[in-house]
């Protein structure tokens, strides 16, 4: 069931949220202007409201398939992506709405994609799990657990091959760390010293299986076996995410050093919306996280303490985010579906560029 958090409830949460972030004094955070800080807060709020709206659309049967919500994890994508320079790149898994918004994709095209509309970012061909924006260095949005990690490593390989000073961030969930492809990618990244930061967003559960029931040992520490640097950070604290990620991103960009970062975070919703979420964790646990560790509340509390945010501005940002999400839903609703003729477009580059086609013969069959 969807529970729409009210502004009042969230205000109460803020009072019991964590104390002022120790990472606030780290250089990368110190140099944020007041406006930068507000923008980071706004970005998290926009993701939250977008996803809450998408959940309502899902419940209204406007959206097919799966919907993996990022609610509770917003500080990870926003903190990490806020550090991106023009040659930094992102790959992630299927819980990708937060990263997509954090790299600057428009919520209209994202919502329309969920609705399966032609105006969606992938023209209605990818859906929730498959958002892409190569013009924003965002390379998906991948459906198979761990399958995107070799791809992110390959992007880092391409950066190094082209002598471009940049880094790839390859995000995965805690469930991905046991996939072979991830370990193969770790080995290649370290062997060839590729500029990639592997980011484990550890929300405690690989689908419905808790970390202690699925993974031996400390997740990021596995990097040691590959002679890679590693670290952990508090994913509820945006400043901490930025502080830790900045350190490893610099090592990647400047020294071509790969690393593994484990971000401790939490999702409030089920694995997907189809997950009734009543078999593997207690409601009290979810409520405890909501009350004490919500990343938006924690950061709000921080910024209020800094004198950057006040009630009026919070309300204004919240209302704007809600309005934006609502407008996105209206945009998606009003948009056309792709046509049956569109099914066979975007399959082959050659088929879509017939004047430049060099091959002959049939590309499609019936």
């Amino acid at each position: 069931m969807s529970k729409k958090p009210s502004a009042t409830a969230e205000k109460k949460d803020a009072e019991s949220a964590a104390s002022v972030s120790p990472a606030a004094n780290v250089g990368i955070n110190q140099k944020l202007t007041k406006d930068d800080r507000i923008d980071l807060f706004r970005m998290m709020m926009r993701i939250r409201r977008f996803e809450e709206r998408s959940l309502r659309a899902y419940q209204a049967k406007k959206i097919g398939g799966f919907l993996h919500l990022y609610i509770g994890q917003e500080a990870v994508a926003v903190g990490s992506c806020s550090l991106m320079g023009k040659n930094d790149h992102v790959f992630t898994a299927y819980r990708d709405h937060g990263h997509a918004i954090a790299v600057g994709m428009g919520v209209n095209e994202l919502m329309a994609e969920l609705y399966g509309k032609a105006t969606g970012c992938s023209k209605g061909k990818g859906g929730s799990m498959h958002y892409f924006a190569p013009d924003r260095n965002f390379w998906g949005g991948h459906g198979i657990v761990g399958g995107q990690i070799p791809l992110g490593t390959g992007l880092a390989y391409a950066l190094k091959y082209k002598n471009i000073k940049g880094a790839a961030m390859a995000f995965m969930g805690d469930g991905a760390v046991n996939q072979g492809a991830v370990h193969e990618a770790y080995n290649l990244a370290s062997l060839w010293q590729l500029p990639v930061v592997f980011v484990i967003e550890n929300n405690g559960y690989s689908m419905g299986t808790s970390q202690e029931r699925s993974s031996a040992g400390e997740l990021a520490k596995r990097a040691e076996g590959y002679n890679m640097a590693w670290g952990t950070c508090d994913g509820h604290d945006l400043y901490d995410v930025r502080a830790v990620m900045d350190k490893f991103l610099r090592a990647a960009r400047e020294e071509s050093k790969p690393s593994v970062v484990e971000v401790r975070t939490y999702r409030y919703r089920g694995h997907s919306v189809a997950d009734p979420d009543n078999t593997y964790r207690a409601k009290a646990e979810i409520e405890e996280y909501r009350r004490t560790k919500d990343p938006i509340q924690v950061f709000q509390h921080q910024l209020v303490a800094e004198g950057v945010l006040d009630e009026a501005l919070i309300e204004k940002i919240d209302q704007a985010a809600r309005a934006e999400a609502e407008a996105a839903a209206e945009f998606a609703e009003a948009s056309p579906y792709p046509t049956v003729d569109d099914i066979q477009k975007d399959v082959y580059w050659e088929a879509d560029n017939p004047s430049e086609r060099k091959s002959k013969g049939r590309l499609f069959f019936d």
Binding site: K125, G143, L155, S359, G361
Partner: protein
């Protein structure tokens, strides 16, 4: 025209494309220092250096996936699989990521990767190393699949594959690596999707590709000499895109079709061909379409028996005579 081996023809294509385009890199197990498990890449490391010719660990899911990711940023990786049989451990990278990323991104991302290596039985290496996955690969819209039978075709088609903006899977054959033939020097490019009539004939059409082309040509000679039957041999060369028009033109001439392939029969490339031929040329057929495949079992090790499990000239001859009866 110089006479060179199939192996050298592939090497020449690689070298010429490495020379032509700085974004082309060759990666795979033992491709550099070892000079290639089958010596296809021999000498390339010395000529192009370790940035262009890269030894990978035995880690197909990792390095193939890495190549797919690199291709998204404009690198043109030519990845060697020591055996195509090892595609199974990289299946997700090849057929989820490479095949689908253009589609799922609504056409925003291209994947100009080539994956090449041998895919054949007949070398007594048992079932794990003898897969012929061209039907499995070609079942995935978004990919192209090439199976060359001669040195000239191998060179011309590989050059096209490397220049192609879609993922191309190039299936060679360890038994053919030493075969020699005339191959044009320099810019010899054969477009994908063009079949080649390797032998003209009037009484039946043998549709085939890869090493089975050679068995079919040998059988066609026997048919002519011993049975006065004139067989036309059509080499598909590319499985997808498919040049069905050349096949249909031949069927219209001979009215009888034998498909010869080193595939297991169930849902093979030949199954697709048979469907298309009956659908598009039913009235041209004077007999049911006949097919010769690998005998339907995992690849047997026993050397003399494996030769009988696979297509060979005698089996092709027998099948052709059945068709003509």
């Amino acid at each position: 025209m110089p006479v060179i081996s199939y192996r050298e023809a592939i090497r020449h294509a690689l070298a010429e494309e490495l020379e032509r385009d700085a974004n082309v890199v060759v990666l795979g197990e033992e491709v550099a220092q070892f000079n290639g498990a089958y010596k296809v890449t021999e000498g390339l490391l010395a000529k192009f250096g370790p940035n262009r010719i890269v030894d990978t660990p035995i880690s197909e899911a990792g390095f193939i996936g890495m190549g797919v990711g690199a291709s998204m940023l404009g690198i043109r990786p030519v990845m060697e699989l020591m055996f195509w049989s090892f595609y199974s451990v990289a299946f997700d990278q090849i057929l989820n990521n490479a095949a689908n990323v253009r589609y799922m991104s609504g056409g925003l991302i291209n994947c100009p990767i080539v994956i090449r290596g041998p895919a054949n039985g007949g070398t007594n290496v048992g079932a794990t190393h003898s897969h012929t996955p061209e039907n499995v690969l070609a079942n995935h819209p978004g990919v192209k699949v090439v199976v060359p039978s001669t040195p000239s075709d191998a060179k011309g088609l590989l050059k096209s594959a490397i220049r192609d903006n879609d993922p191309v899977f190039f299936l060679e054959n360890t038994i053919l690596y030493g075969d020699k033939g005339e191959v044009p020097e320099g810019e010899h490019v054969i477009p994908l999707g063009v079949a080649d009539v390797k032998r003209a004939g009037t009484d039946l059409t043998i549709v085939t590709y890869g090493r089975s082309v050679l068995h079919s040509l040998a059988a066609a000679d026997l048919l002519q000499k011993e049975h006065d039957v004139s067989a036309e041999v059509v080499d598909l060369r590319t499985i997808r895109p498919l040049d069905i028009d050349t096949v249909l033109a031949s069927v219209a001439k001979t009215h009888r079709v034998l498909i010869v392939e080193e595939q297991k029969p169930f849902a093979s490339v030949g199954s697709q061909l048979a469907y298309m031929i009956q659908r598009e040329a039913f009235d041209e057929l004077d007999a049911p379409i006949h097919r010769l495949t690998t005998v339907d079992a995992p690849a047997i090790y026993s050397p003399p028996i494996e030769a009988e499990q696979l297509p060979n000239p005698q089996r092709v001859l027998k099948a052709a005579l059945e068709l003509m009866a």
